[in-house]
Symmetry: C2
């Protein structure tokens, strides 16, 4: 199934599988991209702002993208022009993340008749159903070829 | 050197080292977090929206975070409450990325006398000096202990 701009309606929702965040995964990502003690060192993290090891927000964001690629079947793929991200709770080892993506708004582009812009809100939830991250994304979506 | 909220002023800038984006690095990140043909398959990418292999925006964002950790010496580390990201140009294999971070605005937090909020704009530039990504970030910055 591939969805074109014409197939989208506000309120349409996609729910991903769950993915578990491990200590090793959290530390591995942080060593490459966000090497700060509260993301790389469980002992040092206790004394930090987070009070214990927490995933880099960029790890949560990248993991969310993976879940979206698997669960949001836009024709031609997921192409974001820009996003807003709020990190609402720390992500901890053992958290099982699920991404729930919802179409909020659809904007035809007058200058580009072959595509439209969709505003999609992606809530990433932990196992307790609490939001750990909220993304609002402007996505480029192709129109159905005639 | 560790900078506290009192040490920051609007206009203060930090420039990172350059990091080169390789074909292998682009494909490796995308396989883990953004497995779409325009990020993982140089041949298939030619026919895509991007017209050739391009780094995942999340790879550019994570790489930028790495460069910020190395170049922006905030006391206690870099802790973001939220960001806006615009991806302004595709990042290609061979691009050398530099992150230029600039303090834009400083907001004391009345309810939290031990910290403040700094709005920081991070422009990630390619080797030609063109912006490939612009992040506006709200950062939590501790006040200098008395």
């Amino acid at each position: 199934m591939s969805l074109y701009f014409e197939d989208l309606t506000p309120g349409l929702r996609f729910t991903s599988r769950a993915v578990r965040m491990s200590v090793e995964g959290i530390i591995g990502f942080a060593r490459d991209y966000d090497p700060q003690p509260f993301h790389t060192d469980p002992e040092a993290a206790v004394e930090s702002f987070f009070g214990g090891l927490a995933a880099s927000g960029w790890h949560t964001a990248a993991t969310t993208m993976r879940l979206m690629v698997e669960s949001v079947p836009i024709a031609g793929g997921l192409i974001g022009a820009g996003v807003e991200i709020a990190w609402t709770r720390p992500v901890r080892p053992g958290d099982e993340l699920v991404a729930v993506s919802e179409v909020m708004e659809l904007k035809p582009l007058r200058s580009k008749p072959d595509r439209g812009m969709a505003v999609v809100r992606i809530e990433t939830r932990d196992g307790a159903g609490e939001a750990v991250q909220v993304i609002t994304c402007k996505m480029v979506v192709p129109r159905r070829p005639v």
